[in-house]
């Protein structure tokens, strides 16, 4: 167990990170992500308000739809990345990272203007379980009447799971199909056990409980950013390749002006994916060396258990950010060759 933003979290379960990772890709994995924060926004100006403090376009959402977005600083850098769930035009739910929940809560409150909104930090009310992988749908369907096959990606619906009033969302952080279930915190253990039972846990092809380490390697293979690594208050969304969640034409929002300017001028530093091309594993925080000079830093580096490669994300000067660019990583004093590649590293077959 490790302390993770104040939560005691398992790094891995007895099967181990590699098996957890592979099982999620080939069958299914279950993750307890109850540490995630939830902030409720209610009121007639809910959409107006959230649209002003986040980078994606909240007005595009319909009831029962979610979107990936970011809370931005006036500099276009990132307070946090989050999911915005629309229950109705008067009711949104923001799902934020555990380690940043308090910071986000203060940030959001301090950015209230004249909008009519009620904000509630409901983080401790909810547990969140993520069931991910090609068999996730079949397993969860045994426990709910919601027609899961009809649910589109990044849509959600209130319903019951094993009789527990829940929100079921077709989202995840693994690059697989899957669902995230939000339910009352007191029912976490019941749901966890019921999903394991429904998924034939204990058999060689059954659902496997997965820890933080597998969650990290799965998201990395899928090319997804992790707050505090690829994105933080020093990196802009454009530098982090998150231009697709910057809706610069939607109207004003915090940081828009800087992002518009940066888009016109071009970014100097850019997040890239890389593959290590010789023996060695790049790790977070190591230097990137190009033409014998320190040129950037690794934000996440790890073995990729499914791809069986050593991969990572790094910030490099924009002129070195094209796929195929040869770079070196300073692995504890040894310069290891790597190559910039397109992300995602892994894409599932549909």
């Amino acid at each position: 167990m490790v302390d993770f933003g104040g939560w005691d979290m398992p790094v891995q379960y007895p099967a181990g990170t590699i098996e957890e990772h592979l099982r999620t890709r080939t069958h299914s994995g279950l993750f307890d992500v109850s540490h995630m924060g939830e902030i409720e926004v209610r009121g007639s100006d809910a959409i107006l308000f959230v649209n002003r403090i986040t980078s994606n376009d909240v007005t595009k959402l319909v009831d029962g739809q979610a979107q990936y977005s970011a809370l931005t600083t006036p500099f276009g850098t990132v307070i946090d990345d989050l999911l915005v769930y629309r229950f109705s035009s008067h009711h949104l739910l923001l799902v934020v990272n555990a380690g940043t929940t308090e910071k986000d809560w203060d940030w959001i409150n301090s950015h209230r203007a004249n909008e009519t909104v009620d904000l509630t930090n409901v983080s401790s009310d909810y547990c969140q379980l993520a069931l991910q992988g090609p068999e996730a749908l079949g397993i969860l369907q045994k426990l709910t009447d919601l027609p899961l096959a009809e649910m589109k990606y990044y849509h959600f619906s209130p319903g019951t799971v094993d009789g527990v009033a829940s929100i079921v969302s077709r989202t995840g952080y693994t690059g697989e199909d899957g669902f995230e279930v939000y339910a009352p915190a007191a029912r976490a253990e019941q749901l966890w056990n019921q999903i394991l039972d429904a998924g034939n846990a204990g058999s060689n092809t059954g659902v496997l409980p997965c820890g933080l380490a597998a969650r990290n390697t799965l998201r990395l293979e899928a090319g997804l950013a992790l707050y505090g690594h690829e994105i933080d208050e020093t990196t802009t969304l454009l530098e982090a390749n998150l231009g697709w969640i910057c809706k610069l034409d939607k109207g004003d929002f915090v940081g828009r002006q800087q992002l518009v300017q940066q888009k016109e001028e071009g970014v100097r530093s850019k997040l890239v994916g890389f593959e290590v091309t010789e023996r060695g594993i790049a790790r977070d925080g190591q230097d990137v060396v190009i033409n014998d000079r320190k040129a950037g830093r690794v934000t996440s580096g790890s073995p990729a258990p499914y791809l069986k490669k050593n991969i990572g994300f790094a910030y490099v000067p924009a002129e070195f950010a094209s796929a195929g660019q040869e770079i070196k990583i300073d692995v504890r004093g040894r310069l290891v060759s790597a190559q910039v590649v397109k992300t995602p590293f892994y894409k599932r077959h549909r």
Binding site: V11, Q12, G16, T17, I18, H21, A213, N216, T217, R279, G280, I281, R283, S302, P303, P305, R332
Partner: protein, 130 residues
């Protein structure tokens, strides 16, 4: 419970030492491999390199983390376990056998006496997990 063979010597950094004449075979313990998780990479020194006591001679990497490994006794490396380059998982499956790491010619065989016995190491790991 972690396996702790009687006939080996142990360090507080979780290496084991098997004495064979004036040479010592070194690896990491069952307890260590279990705490690390799946070993995916092992970096070892070259034959002939000399190490002082408790000096880092390489590293063991799991998916999640890098751990340095230290020489419990001083000496010069005679051979290394080359097979770990392609099969690092041997450190998990057979830490005291096929997962051995280096063989050194001891500079001072008396150093072995200051290492932990199997019983002492077992108590040490129990205290660490409590």
């Amino acid at each position: 419970m972690a396996n702790v063979p009687e006939d080996l010597h142990y360090s507080k950094d979780h290496e084991w030492v098997r004495v064979e004449g004036d040479q010592a075979v070194i690896g990491i313990t069952d307890y260590a491999q279990n705490s690390l998780g799946d070993v995916v990479y092992v970096e070892l020194p070259k034959s002939g390199e000399e190490f002082a006591t408790n000096e880092s001679f390489g590293s063991v990497e799991s998916v999640k983390a890098v751990s340095e490994v230290f020489t419990p006794v001083s000496g010069a490396v005679v051979t290394i376990n080359d097979s770990l380059a392609d099969e690092p998982e041997k450190v998990n499956s057979d830490p005291y056998g096929e997962g051995w790491m280096i063989r050194v010619r001891m500079a001072n065989p008396g150093e072995v006496d200051s290492l932990l016995t199997a019983a002492e190491y077992e108590d040490f790991t129990k205290a660490e997990t409590e």
